[in-house]
């Protein structure tokens, strides 16, 4: 437990050390997106389209999935180049604890981003979640999935810089085809089938269900099933990548 808390405090200290960058990523960028796409573009569309209510949960979903990548990706990549991974591996904890602490760090950053963007959504678009508990559940599951996903992508390749390229390549389609800027019911075949393969779809649709239960969204039970299947696939993969790369540390 001490190690988990220490690593969380270290992540917080690292974020503070890069406070300007952190503020731009966590506050300024989502605020600009919400203002332009939600307020300005949303205002140009017919009122019944309710585009602001469609895209705002998508922005919250993006915060949930990018936070883990920034925290875990930053730790793994700087840990590779500056060898801080080695310092953490020399801490008197098991590999399982180190993985739990790493994943928790990613989740906390993802949830912090969700909290900030939720406030921005309320301030800029006047929208508040109707089912806050479901928002927290979906956002936490999303942050967990992308913490595990980041570990797989960065630790499975020979070096994490190769993983970073793969991540950039995957992140774009996941965001654009994963129902972040539109809802699932707007899609037609074959894109609706493709979207079902992407975890971002379930996160964004779950957040839509939390924000506006009356508007079209994927059924919450389908959201939970999708998130559970994704976790069941990603958890063993992340554990395997973590143990393979860090159990016999050759970097």
């Amino acid at each position: 437990m001490n190690f988990l808390l220490a690593l969380l405090r270290r992540n917080f200290a690292a974020d503070l050390a890069a406070a300007k960058l952190t503020a731009v990523r966590m506050v300024v960028q989502p605020a600009v997106y919400l203002f332009v796409f939600g307020h300005v573009v949303g205002g140009m569309l017919p009122a019944q389209s309710g585009y602001a209510a469609v895209m705002a949960p998508g922005m919250v979903a993006i915060a949930a999935v990018t936070g883990p990548f920034v925290t875990i990706g930053g730790s793994v990549i700087s840990g590779y180049y500056f060898r801080t991974l080695e310092a953490w591996l020399l801490a008197p904890v098991s590999l399982g604890t180190l993985m739990a602490a790493t994943v928790l760090g990613g989740m906390v950053n993802g949830l912090a981003g969700v909290g900030i963007v939720s406030v921005l959504v309320w301030l800029i678009l006047g929208l508040a979640p109707q089912a806050p508990a479901f928002l927290v559940l979906t956002a936490a599951a999303g942050a967990l999935l992308f913490s595990l996903f980041t570990l797989v992508v960065l630790l499975a390749p020979e070096t994490p810089d190769k993983g970073q390229e793969v991540f950039s390549f995957l992140m774009m389609p996941m965001t654009f085809f994963g129902c972040t800027f539109y809802s699932y019911d707007m899609l037609e075949a074959p894109f609706n089938w493709l979207a079902l393969l992407l975890p971002t779809t379930y996160i964004a649709e779950g957040l839509r269900a939390a924000y506006t239960p009356a508007a079209p969204h994927m059924d919450p039970s389908a959201v939970l099933a999708g998130l559970t299947v994704a976790a069941a696939i990603l958890f063993p993969l992340a554990s395997w990548a973590f143990r393979r790369r860090l159990g016999h540390f050759t970097w």
Partner: protein
């Protein structure tokens, strides 16, 4: 025994065997010097003793514990200065040391006094608030030394700790290592400096192509031991 390496082989995923069938025993309270040319297997052996690499054959026991079965318990009792610095570049010197204490599970109230003591001992007070990213190589090395001593280890594992240090800091390191030994600690030291091995070590072992080819008390000429064992100049 502080370290017992029995017929250990350490291999990399590429298949390269950095250490092969090596046996080595270090008594408690001893300073053991590990010598060898570049690529002899010193760093791989040191990483295996520090539990970072798993032996693919044979066994390694540190302070009576098997490195494969009890790595966390071993890490609680060792201090390590790896060949390359592993400081957290996002943090300043003081926070690097404080977080190192926290990771190691040192009681919270003990962390700050220990950190201040080692900052003073190594003359790092003026640098305490600076981010390590901006420090000189020698100063970073001093911070690494402070980290190794900070958790009151029973075994110090030093992989070329004095590489790149100026003579003044090097003698400070030697002083700290001697003091550590006089208080009952054990040291495994890898070095390229034969003078360092002669001055500090009780015994030296020479590694060549992953094998221990000589092991002698460090009293005589270490250079002669090295030449005899490897057939090459150090």
């Amino acid at each position: 025994m502080a370290v017992s390496v029995d017929n250990a082989t350490v291999a990399y995923p590429s298949g390269t065997r950095a250490v092969e069938g090596l046996s080595l025993h270090i008594r408690r309270g001893e300073i053991y010097g590990l010598l060898g040319l570049n690529g002899a297997g010193k760093t791989s052996l040191i990483k295996a003793v520090a539990t970072l690499l798993r032996p693919t054959a044979g066994s390694i026991r540190v302070l009576g514990l098997d490195t494969r079965e009890r790595p966390a318990d071993i890490k609680r009792r060792i201090g390590v200065v790896p060949q390359e610095n592993n400081l957290d570049t996002y943090l300043d010197v003081r926070r690097n040391l404080l977080f190192h204490c926290h990771y190691a599970g040192v009681a919270k109230k003990e962390c700050a006094p220990r950190v201040e003591k080692w900052l003073a001992l190594l003359g790092l007070e003026q640098k305490a608030g600076e981010r390590v990213l901006h420090l000189s190589g020698g100063t970073k090395r001093k911070v690494m030394l402070a980290k190794a001593f900070l958790t009151d280890p029973e075994l110090l594992i030093l992989d070329e700790p004095s590489a790149g240090l100026d003579p003044e800091i090097r003698s400070l390191l030697w002083e700290q290592v001697r003091e550590f030994r006089s208080s009952g600690g054990t040291v495994l030291l890898s070095t390229h400096y034969l003078e360092e091995a002669e001055r500090l070590c009780n015994r030296v072992g020479v590694l060549h192509r992953g094998r221990l080819v000589a092991e002698e008390p460090a009293g005589g000429s270490v250079e002669a031991v090295f030449r005899r064992a490897t057939g090459e100049a150090p």
